[in-house]
């Protein structure tokens, strides 16, 4: 079959980037033409990624669709793309989110629409590149290049305080990633190769590992974001345009968690075990303290942004718990696996739910021109269908069983019970806290007496379809999490097994 011969990952990475660069300069085209072009490209990429899933061999943990050629001979840097059971999930998340964003853009009014569309396509290509590069420098290049389109998206189409927010975002993430660069170079010199796989088999002393661990933790912790380096996220979210927030919360934050699984976990395992007692509290603070911060917010976007930080706390908790279970006296392989799978599940679920919530806020904003909670009330009176959607996503955000929000949190809490009852108790507080900020937001915004005398227009078909797709996916993962498990099971098991040996 012809499909077996095409370099599908290269296509996935470069078609959006190249077409995005072309669209960037198509100033003279009409909006409608640009929409058709972008929708065509993003759906093409979506189909390609589904094809990838179709051809993917679930019963193997080895890398698949390997494309490896020498890129920069003198440095020994390879153009090394491949997927395993974890990356394929994030690639799908990226393609689906971008597809929905491109469709959603058609319902909003933006200046310089061609540039917005082009930047999203470029971002899509770069994100797919991050998730499928297995050469550390290639990974770093995609990781860092992501900053450029997002910097422009927030800076050009953002709110009043956008410049502060976008520069803060850029410098924060750049700071983290340059530290990672030094570590990657150190590792590559030790391993005599830039391939991530070769770095796994290194025998590093504990003190070296601790330094590497800290630099990776800063890099990915800022991206995730973890408490206390999360402060760029609320600013970036509040100022970003709706679609910018969607990609930021939906996919970009997952790069941090993905990086932790790829680098932090296998390379610096000993350091993680050694530092374990300091790490889990960081996640718990993120979960509890940030939830309280979220309750106090007046701005809807800021509230969801803080809720993102709290939910990502579960991701880091799941990952750090693995170190706990690798310790000799508390060794428990099944629980470690549970923590890892829970973290990945939580990332996927949060990607969908927070994306949906930012879309909902964007829809409200486009009608009332305000993001403040106090300025909204009784939206259900004029927008009943939309309100149903939003209530659904708020419930999913608070971890309602049957939605995807429940699965990841449940798995992580289950893993933490096996580690320490106190961890589990504190982590499960989130079920109360998330419910309180989510539902209270719903109460104040959706119910009550309508404030605006003019009736708000109900969502149109496009918005309806976008939200409906998200509802279906959230329910699907919530009710049939096995599907995701099947995809990632072999890879995650392999990761945990190889950690045990090391």
């Amino acid at each position: 079959m012809i499909i077996n011969n095409i370099p599908i990952l290269t296509f996935l990475v470069w078609i959006p980037i190249i077409s995005g660069l072309i669209i960037f300069f198509l100033d003279k085209y009409k909006d409608r033409q640009l929409f058709y072009i972008s929708i065509f490209i993003s759906s093409l990429i979506l189909i390609l990624s589904l094809l990838l899933l179709y051809k993917f061999n679930f019963s193997s943990h080895t890398l698949q669709f390997i494309e490896k050629t020498i890129w920069i001979k003198n440095f020994g840097i390879n153009y090394f793309l491949a997927v395993d059971g974890i990356s394929i999930l994030f690639i799908l998340l990226t393609t689906i989110t971008t597809f929905l964003i491109v469709i959603f853009i058609t319902t909003e009014k933006y200046l310089q629409i061609n540039k917005l569309l082009s930047l999203f396509l470029i971002l899509e290509g770069l994100l797919i590149g991050v998730f499928c590069s297995f050469d550390s420098i290639l990974f770093y290049i995609f990781f860092e290049a992501i900053l450029i389109p997002l910097f422009l998206i927030i800076g050009i189409w953002g709110g009043n305080n956008r410049i502060y927010a976008t520069i803060k975002f850029f410098l924060y993430t750049l700071f983290g990633s340059v530290l990672m660069l030094v570590s990657l170079i150190y590792l590559s010199i030790q391993a005599d190769s830039f391939s991530i796989l070769d770095m796994y088999s290194l025998n590093l002393s504990l003190s070296t590992q601790i330094f590497l661990f800290i630099s990776f933790l800063i890099a990915f912790g800022i991206k995730t974001p973890m408490w206390p380096v999360h402060t760029w996220l609320p600013d970036a979210h509040v100022e970003a345009p709706t679609t910018g927030s969607v990609i930021l919360a939906g996919v970009l934050l997952k790069v941090g968690g993905y990086g932790m699984i790829r680098f932090l976990l296998p390379i610096t395992t000993d350091a993680g075990i050694y530092l374990n007692d300091y790490l889990i509290p960081l996640s718990l603070i993120a979960i509890i303290y940030i939830s309280f911060v979220a309750i106090a917010q007046q701005d809807m976007k800021k509230l969801i942004a803080y809720s993102s930080v709290a939910h990502m706390g579960f991701v880091t908790l799941g990952i750090f718990l693995i170190f706990n279970f690798l310790e000799k006296n508390t060794y428990n392989q099944d629980a470690a696996l549970l923590g890892l799978q829970g973290a990945i599940m939580q990332m996927l679920s949060h990607g969908l739910i927070s994306a949906a919530l930012f879309l909902c806020i964007g829809i409200i904003y486009s009608r009332t021109q305000s993001k403040l909670i106090d300025n909204q009330s009784g939206i259900i009176q004029s927008m009943p269908i939309f309100s149903a959607f939003m209530i659904f996503f708020l419930l999913a955000n608070s971890g309602l069983p049957g939605t995807s929000g429940f699965v990841g949190e449940f798995m992580v809490i289950l893993a933490s019970i096996k580690a320490n009852f106190l961890y589990a108790f504190l982590a499960s507080l989130t079920l109360v806290l998330a419910a309180s900020y989510s539902l209270w937001l719903g109460k104040r915004v959706i119910f009550g007496n309508p404030k605006n005398t003019l009736a708000l227009s109900e969502i149109n078909t496009t918005e309806f379809m976008v939200l409906l797709i998200l509802v279906i996916m959230v329910l699907f993962i919530g009710l049939k999490p096995e599907i995701i498990m099947i995809i990632m099971n072999e890879t995650t098991t392999h990761i945990i097994n190889s950690l045990q040996k090391g």
Binding site: F24, I141, L152, I163, T166, V182
Partner: protein
């Protein structure tokens, strides 16, 4: 009969300069373009000449004036760089009606100085080349004679430059006193043979090296000898700044290679720390002071200082890899610098040249392509992948980590983050601010686009440039 082929390029330049100067006298004002084309033709012919007679020239090594592959390659780079710089400058000068053929002829004198530097095998000839370069730079800085800034900058640079030259001569004479020779290779041999030295000799060498390095630091623009750079960049015309920020950096880098690597490598322990200190101070001062600049040229001046600091880090380690990284950094910096100043020479703000960063506000709305080009150069200078500036820094940090200088590597990358701020500010002004000025383009910008896209191309495929740098440095380490 003595074969003059090895010095033929220099002879051709000198003759053609005289001839063009004469022809130019008889040209009417509107026909001055002829002399411009003659100059460009001379340069093109020289490149052709060097490539054509490559083998013959390299076989004719003179004792004091080497024409090895190293010098030929650098001469070709300098010549092709100058052709592009002249192209940018000509359009700018014509537009602002300040074009005189003499401007280019003085630049050619500078080129002659740089070519002599690349070939010099002797401290005195090296000094002659440096002086020829410096004198021509003094005069083109003063070229903008209606501006008080320009005169101030020229006088500042001239006085300080003369002192620096004096320092260099003093250092050279000390070396001559200590070794009894001025030939680079003989100095190397002398230091190598003498082995262990007594304390008095060591003091003498340190003394001489200090004078030489101070002088070179001044010529390079390394902090704390950097004070002339912002004033000169600010005061002179854009084409002058374009020239100053690019080719002389290559020339001074070659002087560093010739002196420190070829002659004084035996004294590595003495000069390594000096250079490293200069490097670190330059990076800090350059990056931090650039943050508060509002004038575009001044900001780029401080960015130059910071980049010079990175080059000096490469020099200070003294290994083959580090010199290769420094060469790579220098070449890529020159391409970046030519790109950004090249773009600026094409843009006019309300009929004037670009001065403040805020002059460019909202460039994206009416000139998206030019805005995109500036975006690329700024990101490349900030070291964001996949542009060439990233690979330059990557290579350097790799060398640092490889030599276990972790603290310096961390310092360098953190400074990069600070540096990113002021580059981002330019992008912010171009993309996020509202249009406040009337921006026009002098001519369409095909060449400058190619120059800028080269940053992207080399960022994606840095292979050839790395190989070139490796090749250039390999000659010094083969023995």
């Amino acid at each position: 009969m003595m074969n003059f082929l090895f010095i033929m390029p220099e002879i051709i330049i000198t003759t053609s300069m005289s001839v063009i100067l004469l022809i130019d006298l008889f040209l009417k004002k509107k026909n001055k373009i002829i002399s411009y084309y003659l100059i460009q033709f001379t340069l093109l012919f020289l490149i052709f000449f060097l490539i054509r007679n490559f083998e013959q020239i390299t076989s004719l090594n003179h004792q004091d004036f080497s024409t090895d592959i190293f010098s030929i390659v650098f001469k070709t780079i300098l010549l092709s760089g100058l052709i592009i710089i002249f192209y940018y400058s000509y359009n700018f000068l014509r537009y602002f009606k300040v074009y005189k053929t003499e401007y280019f002829l003085i630049c050619l004198f500078g080129l002659l100085g740089m070519m002599i530097i690349t070939s010099a095998q002797d401290l005195l000839i090296l000094y002659l080349g440096i002086e020829l370069l410096s004198l021509s730079l003094y005069s083109i800085i003063a070229y903008n004679k209606d501006s008080a800034f320009s005169s101030e900058a020229a006088i500042k640079y001239y006085v300080l430059g003369a002192i620096a030259s004096g320092f260099l001569l003093f250092g050279i004479s000390l070396i001559y006193g200590l070794t009894g020779t001025i030939s680079l290779n003989e100095v190397f041999q002398f230091i190598y043979d003498s082995g262990s030295r007594d304390a008095v000799q060591n003091v003498g060498y340190i003394f001489a090296l200090t004078f030489i390095i101070v002088s070179l630091g001044f010529k390079f623009g390394a902090a704390p000898f950097h004070m002339w750079i912002p004033d000169v960049y600010h005061g002179s015309l854009l084409p002058t700044t374009l020239l100053l920020s690019s080719l002389p950096k290559i020339a001074v880098f070659i002087i560093f290679i010739k002196l420190l690597l070829q002659a004084f490598i035996g004294l590595f322990h003495f000069w390594a720390d000096m250079i490293l200190i200069l490097a670190l101070i330059s990076i800090v001062i350059g990056n931090i002071i650039a943050i508060v600049q509002t004038n575009f040229k001044r900001m780029l001046a401080y960015s130059t200082i910071a980049n010079i600091g990175f080059i000096l880090i490469g020099i200070s380690l003294g290994t083959q890899e580090s010199f290769t990284a420094a060469t790579f950094y220098t070449l890529s910096y020159v391409i970046m610098s030519m790109a950004i100043f090249g773009i600026l020479t094409f843009i006019t703000i309300n009929g004037k040249a670009v001065e403040e960063i805020s002059d460019l506000s909202g460039l994206n709305e009416n000139h998206p392509w030019q805005a995109f080009l500036i975006l690329l150069t700024m990101l490349s200078l900030a070291g964001i992948p996949p542009l060439i500036g990233f690979h330059a820094k990557l290579f350097l940090i790799q060398v640092l980590v490889n030599s276990s200088y972790f603290i310096i590597a961390l310092f360098a990358v953190i400074m990069t983050v600070i540096g990113a701020y002021y580059y981002l500010r330019v992008i912010k002004v171009i993309y996020f601010d509202k249009v406040s000025t009337k921006i026009n383009l002098i001519i369409s910008s095909l060449i400058v686009s190619i120059n800028t896209l080269l940053l992207l191309y080399l960022g994606l495929f840095p292979y050839n440039l790395v190989n070139l740098s490796k090749f250039l440095m390999s000659g010094f380490f083969s023995t």
